[in-house]
Symmetry: C2
Subunit: 115 residues, 2 copies
DNA sequence: GCTCTAATTTGACATACATCTAAGCCTCTT
DNA sequence: AAGAGGCTTAGATGTATGTCAAATTAGAGC
């Protein structure tokens, strides 16, 4: 790691995003830019075993099952979660690699060391 | 820092977000969940001196000045950038604290150490 | 096979949003 | 003070999106 990598700002502020990268990242960000989907994501990720049943998620909101299902589909299409049917129920879990993409985009490259 | 903080997942996956926190974060994320605004943010942040003139930004897109102005306003309202008029031109710069909020939300709490 | 529950899909609707044109405001220059 | 350039605001319009009700698929158990 060179000194050049030590600076104050996130990767998004290091160099201009290409049009293509921006479009791809915007799609990912749109998926999480909703209060219900943020809560779904955090509920799935923090649930025991790292996975949650749709039934648990639906009960936690004052929304209909189709609406929750819609939001889960948006998250799954974006690659943020992955679903699996086991018997009667469907379980979702987080895809950490995709979440990390967002973390990398906004994470500061270094702490404000001595300053 | 205790051992408990060393785990695989981002803070969003640590515990369920409250309704209020989710709403606040969603507002912030909506501001960046647009390809034009992502590029604006990265162009401003990576520009020499950490600030960019609106004129530079407008020329970089095939969009009208009012549209760019609108996007800048969205970013500014979200607290992601801050603008200042100096003479004829208006300069924008990034507000790192706000960007860091997003970084903190999605950043893994620890590297996949030995695994 | 039939029924019940879990979850998704479809279609409709109201709202939110990205974009443009036209108009207005601020600053510098002449 | 009058004009010109830079930027924002206001209003209009087409598209995208969040939500629900109704219909559909899938599995479990009787």
């Amino acid at each position: 790691m060179s000194l050049a990598t030590i600076q104050c700002c996130a990767p998004i502020a290091r160099e201009p995003l290409s049009e293509g990268d921006a479009a791809e990242l915007a799609t990912l960000l749109k998926a999480v830019a909703d209060p219900v989907r943020l809560r779904l994501l955090s509920m799935i990720g923090s649930h025991t075993g790292g996975e949650a049943c749709v039934c648990d998620l639906t009960d936690a909101f004052e929304l209909t099952a189709p609406t929750i299902s819609h939001h889960l589909k948006v998250l799954r299409t974006a690659g943020l979660i992955d679903g699996e049917r086991r018997g009667t129920w469907v379980y979702y879990r987080i895809v950490p690699e995709t979440v990390n993409k967002l973390g990398a985009l906004f994470a500061p490259l270094a702490e404000p060391a001595t300053v």
